[in-house]
Amino acid sequence: MNMTMTVIGKPMLRLEDPRLLRGEARFIDDIKLANMAEAAFVRSPNGHALIKGIDASAALALPGVMAVLTLDDLRPHLSGEHLVVGLPSEAYKQDRNRPALCRDEAVYVGEPVAVVVAENRYIAEDAVDLVAVDYDILPAASDCRAALAEGAPPVHRDGADNLLAEFDMEYGDVDAAFAGAAHVFGESFWQHRGGGHSIECRGMVADYDKPTDKLVLWNSTQMAHSSLRVLVEMLGRDENRVRVVTPDIGGGFGPKLVIYQEEVVVSIASIVLGRPVKWIEDRREHFMTSTQERDQYWEVEIAVDDAGGIRGIRGSIVHDHGAYTARGINLPQNSGETLPGPYVVPAYRMNVRLALTNKVPVTPVRGAGHPQACFAMERMLDRVARELGLDRAEVRRRNLIPAESMPYTKPLKSRSGAPIVLDSGDFPASQQAALDKADWSGFGARQQAALEDGRYIGIGVANFVKGTGRGPFEEVTVRIGASGRVQVYTGAAAIGQGTETMLAQIVAEELGGEVANITVTTGDTARNSLGIGTSNSRVTVVAGSSAHAAARKVRDKALLVASHLLELPVEELEIVGAEIRAKGADERRKNVWIALADVANAVAGTPGYALPGGVEPGLEATERLLFDAMPYVNGTAVAEVEVDPHTGGVEILSYKMTHDCGRMINPMIVHGQVIGGAAHGIGNALFEWMQYDAMAQPLTTNYADYLLVTATELPRIEVVHTETPSPLNDLGVKGVGECGVIPAAAVLASAIEDALTPFGVRIARAPITPPDILALIRAA
């Protein structure tokens, strides 16, 4: 790594901002094509029902309605009826793939039954109300524990039971660890997380052009290439007859990494009608049809010695999977895999069962199972501290992996089969810095003084690690053409994390130092032949590393060609802005330079002329650097809260974090990611609850019933960054997008419990709402 970096590491203003601030960005709903129709979906109002018939005649008679399509109407255009997208695993006991539209059974509220296409959305929604669907309502499985019980109603009527998958993770001699332990403590946790709630809902515009037989899908997705693959497979089309393009994306947060039924249905609607068709999810649909995280029920035991040293952990998780596999078993796999986290846990066993329920599928939301693991681990450590009369931070300190043990191998396998190796970081130092910043040692006096005033304040601490930058790769092309400007293309979509700026900084470091000379295109399948997409805090690691490598290749070639054209050795040349110049202040050399545009043109070829220096054509490089091992971010959160025992209200008095994500490409952006993540986690911890009734009917489908955190509930979040470069990539970077979320519920539970010490309240759930706190105080 070049240690005299001039662009990387600078808090540069974002390239994205001007167009966003002027209202000139182009989000999916801003795309308006000539002759464009709009779609609205007929959706199941029942958690589980048979569909006996669909009568669209009244809808079709409405002026302005062009078509009402059911699965029967799609079939001539489908080579497969189901979206097969599940990540591979041997743990599946049932294949539950989503049909493009319901066949004769609906298994969650909101499942698409038919699509109406009309002149505009107003008419399309009128027509949706006129489509008569004859349902036979069936019993529904709502609670995931009940769904696994003997005699539970099957989520799918052809299912023998609702066990979607089961697996164990284990290492060490767990039984011996527990048999010989001085203390064993057991806990039961209910943990809930809600939906993604990007402020921009999902949406797409399918544009089928009959003369060229080409389909373009503009799609607000995190995964353009996955969307392409599904369209190619399900529509039986050639790759060069389908293109998926992402416009500006108004947030992702996980649910937009899933490929949905609508992508297939809206594409076919455009093919059938021979005109562009737009569908924009409304907020009620987002609650009902965008994937969510929901419930996990944990039973866990921890075995410790008299000093609080962990000997072993064992337990089981029941995970609400929803009605279909829209992503895989990865979420509870992350939870189980991450539980030992930053601690030395000599023996470990976790049984994980995924329950089908008659609800929208569960897939990762920012954090992806890690917050639940952190909550379970940190709650158990608080229990250990209380039972043994130790300081909560001290129990953690005794169990954190020491810095000198890095890299530290956990005898667990990640889903790629590679062992989990915590690559770098100083966990004890991270905790100590957070404690110092929060004046942990002075808190006892503050708490006593508050109590004397009749105020209940508490402090909590939580440590976390997060595997980031999941491989295998992300393709990046760097190209300089006749404009002399540097073009960067990647399959990863930009969903608000400053991806354009981050890549431009990395590329500019190698190619002239001027970010303004870089243009970045993200998430367009016509620009990159391969792509994975944006998820798992991965883009800076995988796309950033490929961009770095590609930019170096282009740099080397540009200098080589320039050396032929300028007749100077490569070592005497440098790229400055959009020019290649002779190094040094020598007067005679001041005028020795060539524009990058001229270098690019020289290797772009002229009919009948040889290329200078016998180089390969073109000033470009494409890289797909491969990664298997994941760089691990670590950090600590310390929060101080005040709880009102009369209302159950929680006020966060201070919230401080330490965070180490390796080298920061743009510290301003990293800081914003951590704070935004923390706010998301605080919302999960205190407010967000996606509620369903016993028939699996969603009860919270607007922002009056489902609460997102607002500015008045949040404290100023303080973050101290350290940079321990990851040894796993040349840039030394780790991911950052999800990390702020992870310790939030854990640290707030710890703090609230501490504040309510006089009442002896125990927190074993998230979210922790005021009514819950009042009930706990009454019960204590």
Binding site: L13, R14, E16, D17, P18, L20, L21, R22, G23, E24, A25, R26, F27, D29, D30, K32, Y122, D126, H197, S198, I199, E200, C201, D248, I249, G250, G251, F253, D282, R283, I495, G496, Q497, G498, M668, I669, H671, G672, Q673, I675, G676, G677, A678, A679, H680, N702, Y703, A704, L708, T710, A711, T712, L714, R716, I717
Partner: protein
């Protein structure tokens, strides 16, 4: 159902006269009829604040306002905030400098809400600002960069320090 009315509105200083269906929301009218797509729709039930515009200088939810209700009135949208094509408003500059936007989808509503607020409260506290934007949902930033930007913009608009 498809009754129409002719309305006249002034948007960002420009006069428009259009025939609209009476059920069309002001947000859809601005976005689809006038092509001013900078005003965004996040919830369409009046909570998220992404669609906030100014109606006669007062912030309003354009998703809960019908286009016909705006007849004869002055509207300001995000497209009318910057003084020129190559200059940003101090609040826009501050939002960029304090990283008060990430995906940027809620930003237009934040801008129109805060511009009204800073007109009325040129020297606000952090708590005042948090209250002022408590009707705007942002999923990305945790609001902190927005609050910092508003404090900095207020100072700049008062003629204080440049940054």
């Amino acid at each position: 159902m498809s009754a129409t009315r002719t309305i006249s509105v002034t948007v960002n200083g420009k006069a428009y006269e259009r025939e609209v269906e009476v059920r069309v929301t002001l947000a859809d009218f601005l976005r689809q009829e006038l092509g001013l797509t900078g005003t965004h729709l996040g919830c369409e039930h009046g909570v998220c604040g992404a669609c906030t515009i100014q109606l006669n200088g007062r912030s309003a939810r354009s998703c809960l306002t019908l286009a016909v209700q705006a007849d004869g009135q002055e509207i300001k949208t995000v497209e009318g905030v910057a003084p020129s094509a190559d200059e940003l408003h101090p609040l826009q500059e501050a939002l960029s400098e304090h990283h008060g936007l990430q995906c940027g989808f809620c930003t237009p509503g934040i801008l129109l809400t805060l511009l009204e607020f800073l007109d009325d409260n040129p020297d606000p506290s952090e708590a005042d600002i948090r209250l002022a934007i408590s009707g705007n949902l942002c999923r990305c930033t945790g609001y902190q960069g927005i609050v910092d930007a508003a404090l900095a913009a207020a100072e700049r608009l008062r003629g204080g320090a440049a940054k």
